[in-house]
């Protein structure tokens, strides 16, 4: 680094300036890549929000129609299959004072890995007792 190119007055200052510029460019490009990731990530927002809303709507309909109160797996599953859009899977867990065991109804036994899973809870009443229904919904 002590060699002076062309015997200019600037010495090796130019080398450090160039290094500084290169470093600044790398930092700027890094920031742009991060910004690009965050700006681009908003594209899935609608699908994810829609999925959560669908799960919430389905549980609301099941509750409003009195299907959850039956606590019968087959009844709930039948109603669920008529409501659930074909491109989603859902898992519903019902628990509360009405039963010592959690009732699980699912369209697919394994939760999706590496995919967005929307979830939520709703309180309901069955057999005169309070209960909680928890849902998890994901795309096929």
């Amino acid at each position: 680094m002590k060699t002076r190119f062309y015997h200019l007055n600037y010495g090796n200052k130019a080398f450090f300036l160039a290094l500084d510029v290169a470093l600044a460019v790398i930092v700027a490009v890094g920031l742009l890549v991060i910004a690009n990731y965050y700006v681009g990530s908003s594209e899935n927002k609608l699908a994810e929000l829609q999925m959560i809303r669908t799960g919430s709507d389905i549980i609301t309909v099941l509750d409003n129609k009195g299907v959850l109160d039956s606590l019968d797996e087959e009844t709930i599953k039948d109603e669920l299959s008529s409501l659930l859009p074909p491109y989603y899977n859902i898992r519903i867990q019902l628990y509360g004072a009405f039963s010592s065991e959690t009732i699980i109804i699912e369209t697919e036994s394994e939760l999706a890995e590496g995919k967005f899973i929307g979830s939520g809870k709703r309180f309901f009443r069955a057999n005169g007792e309070n209960g909680i229904v928890k849902y998890q919904i994901w795309s096929k």
Binding site: K45, Q50, R53, T54, D57, I58, T60, S82, L83
Partner: protein, 143 residues
């Protein structure tokens, strides 16, 4: 190489790098301005759509937690601009449809104009009950 040659070569090189950098910055600035503006509009449409579908479901809900036939009829009988004002969807266009119900498994009611292109469209679906049958309330907001 003489000193003058070295200085002018250095100058040309510096000017070339500078031009490329300025060009790159202008391109990136333009690209991100456009993208952020599109993103902002998309987010606004998303918020309006979710608020409008919530409002729609609440407006037409009857006492038995079904969509009320009378309220559905009166809502869909309004003019396009009345619905637009009621849902506060500003200068965007919309299409609302209700599928299901006791009399038909298909389209029960609809209002608005469908989008002719697939860009800048937000489509949402709400699952509900109408005339004691499962039904789907679809909402499309577009520009």
């Amino acid at each position: 190489m003489s000193k003058a040659q070295a200085i002018s070569t250095d100058l040309f090189f510096a000017v070339a790098v500078f031009m490329v950098l300025v060009g790159g910055i202008i391109f990136i600035w333009d690209f991100y301005s456009l993208r952020l503006s599109e993103d902002s509009e998309y987010n606004e449409m998303l918020v309006i759509s979710f608020q409008a579908t919530d409002l729609l479901a609440k407006k037409m809900l009857g006492e038995d937690r079904n969509l009320s036939t009378a309220k559905v009829g009166s809502f869909f009988n309004q003019s396009y601009d009345e619905v637009r004002g009621e849902l506060n969807i500003r200068n965007y266009d919309f299409y609302i449809s209700l599928e299901g119900g006791a009399n038909s498994s298909g389209l029960a009611a609809s209002k608005g104009k469908k989008s002719s292109n697939s860009e800048n469209v937000i489509s949402l679906r709400r699952y509900t009950t109408y005339q004691n049958e499962n039904s789907v309330l679809s909402f499309e907001l577009w520009k």
